[in-house]
């Protein structure tokens, strides 16, 4: 995270950023559109919060940006065998377990800052932020809805993310999407329980 620490400043992505910075260009028109047109409305509707790193030597330059919101992974399971015995005369109810998570809704790196490791540094920062002792709520997973194309999928898997569904077909079924149409995005997750920080070792 050397580049982000030494050369950049972390800020909320707000109207002041939109007014004072050069348009953010990560090479993806969908993401560029979000960070130039939709971001303020998204924030004002409390659907997510957006942040960015600006370049210290020229604060008009946005090096990278991302949006996060609270979410959860819900897992439906059948009761265990012991419980089945106890409740065998009662219709079996499915249990749903909910894990607190944070959803990365958008994430992009300025195309002029590729190959500097900014993307991985940014992901390390996001992971650190949610296991940081100062984080006020518990969070087990980071989830992302990645574009279903090789480059972003490789970025997330290289950073330890795994697909939430084993196959595209499984994901389409869960999302009630037609099986014959391409899946535009894929859900991936990272389990924060794998990370060791000082406080856990004491």
């Amino acid at each position: 995270m050397g580049f982000l620490l030494e050369k950049c400043t972390f800020r909320p992505y707000n109207q002041e950023i939109l007014d004072s910075c050069e348009p953010f260009d990560c090479g993806n028109s969908d993401l560029n559109g979000f960070f130039s047109k939709d971001v303020i409305k998204y924030t004002s509707e409390l659907l997510g919060k957006s942040y960015c790193f600006t370049l210290d030597e020229n604060p008009k330059v946005i090096v990278c940006a991302f949006t996060v919101s609270n979410d959860s992974i819900k897992v439906q399971t059948l009761p265990n065998s012991r419980k089945k015995k106890v409740t065998k005369r009662i219709p079996r109810e499915k249990e749903t377990r909910s894990y607190p998570s944070v959803l990365i809704g958008r994430l992009g790196v300025n195309k002029n800052f590729g190959r500097l490791g900014v993307g991985s540094d940014l992901m390390d920062f996001i992971k650190s932020w949610f296991v940081h002792p100062g984080n006020k709520t518990g969070c087990r997973f980071i989830v992302v809805d990645s574009y279903n194309t090789p480059k972003p999928l490789l970025y997330y898997t290289n950073n330890g993310f795994e697909p939430l569904f084993s196959t595209e077909e499984q994901e389409k079924e869960a999302m009630n999407l037609p099986l014959d149409k391409p899946l535009k995005t894929r859900l991936l997750y990272f389990d924060l329980i794998l990370l060791k920080i000082e406080e856990q070792t004491e």
């Binding site: 969908d30 390390d124 296991v131 809805d145 939430l164 869960a174 990370l195």
Partner: protein, 51 residues
Amino acid sequence: MATAIKNIPVLKKEAASTFNEKIEKNIANRASVDFSKKVSISSKILAKAKS
């Protein structure tokens, strides 16, 4: 308007059992990746941050 972000659906059946198996393994490997240095750097980034 940018592409809508998907809701995370409830994991059921095979997806649920695969997920449960993976997170059980993760619990067994809890704190196996030393992130202390990165958390320390992120503290410095947050200390320098502007609101």
